[in-house]
Symmetry: C2
Subunit: 241 residues, 2 copies
């Protein structure tokens, strides 16, 4: 993997006007994000916001008994740390690096200052937040009604959309933690998908071969979320593809 260091790889940063971008650029800190790294702990004060470029962050809720469930994922389409400008300063969830890569971070007070200008940046961040809300809502629906296999398809597609390649570096154990199911359940579902020729995997590497059929096997949740992101953040998407 070549390290291309450009903040504009993040779609939100890319959507900024030049004047805004120039104002923030000197304060953007390039950082490497390693698999499993915890960026926010539940209830903890947030010191930075993160703009992933080639990495993916997972928002997890960890229950009292240790079981977990993914609430949403954040990649190069978004920003991690919305509770800073929403006014809560913190959230009862954990943020974990789900896919290693790079990103930029910005000091909390600088982002808040930018948000409080109440200009285009604020509107952009709020629209992104609404898209994130849709993702969370759809996760709730999906958890209620769909099978592990369908959810795995949805999860693979959402992750894929946030990366440049068609390959993910993830063990089934980790995926199970995200989805909040048993590791064996993921193994079973992945085996079926491989047998059907949609994906291919070996020990922590998953390659999506037949994306179209993966979408067909997925539940409607993936499409709903994707449509909503495209609707709310059209410019970004136009540039991204």
């Amino acid at each position: 993997m070549t390290i291309v260091s450009d903040p504009r790889q993040n779609h939100l940063l890319d959507a900024l006007l030049n004047s805004e971008y120039d104002r923030l650029f000197p304060n953007l800190e390039f950082i490497k994000l390693t698999l499993g790294q915890v960026l926010y702990e539940s209830g903890e004060q947030l010191n930075h916001v993160y703009f992933p470029t080639t990495s993916i962050i997972s928002l997890l809720y960890v229950m009292e008994n240790g079981a977990s469930a993914e609430i949403a994922i954040v990649g190069n389409e978004g920003i991690l740390g919305i509770s800073l400008f929403m006014g809560g300063e913190t959230t009862p969830s954990r943020a974990v690096v789900q896919s290693a890569g790079f990103g930029y971070r910005l000091k909390a007070n600088l982002l808040k200052a930018e948000f409080n200008r109440a200009g285009p940046v604020q509107r952009l961040l709020l629209r992104y937040t609404q898209a994130l809300i849709t993702q969370m809502a759809q996760t709730a629906v999906c958890n209620r009604h769909h099978t592990v296999e369908q959810q795995l398809c949805r999860w693979l597609l959402l992750s894929l959309d946030r990366l440049a390649s068609n390959q993910l570096a993830m063990t089934q154990e980790l995926i199970a933690n995200m989805l909040g199911v048993r590791r064996e359940g993921v193994t079973e579902a992945a085996r079926k998908l491989q047998k059907a020729g949609l994906i291919q995997y070996t020990r922590g590497k998953i390659t999506v071969i037949d994306r179209l059929n993966l979408e067909l096997r997925s539940c409607e949740c993936y499409g709903v979320v994707k449509l909503e992101f495209d609707r709310l953040l059209p410019t970004l998407h136009g540039i991204a593809r």
Copy 2:
């Protein structure tokens, strides 16, 4: 039920400064909300926002096959229609009156104008939105990990918190729709709770007798959401109780 017509019964309106309240008051329209009434249809343009006072609104996602799942509920602690100021104008979910009662509504453009003043009202609305996000996230977790009985307890408690009385006018069929489970599952769980002396019900009327033990039977999700609402909107709660 006596009709007490005071916008300040809604905690968000109650938290406004007098100057802000006086500005909005002439535009607040008192309305009656009947059980089952659909305030927003999925994807539809929003013309008003709603401030429930004695009613409860349910945010539902309805799937292609007709199955549904509740995303969040909105009562006198909040506002219905956040997507208006978040910039999306609409959401892929439906808003249904879950508990009949009253409320106030405000024309969409007036709310947006107020929000765009970027003052205390904006900050209040954003904090509320974050609390709502927590509720959605926790719904996702709950759907993943908890039993119907636990979810019923959580649901009863969340609803109760948004009403003055300890009685709900709801059939088990409707509750099942909200939770996204079978009606029989709700019957079974409700029967157990009644046998344990926590609730009492007859044909569409549910009375909570032993609230404390209901909280003990509920999953942690109720507490997490409640704590977060109290944390983010403390003034409101202080006044409300």
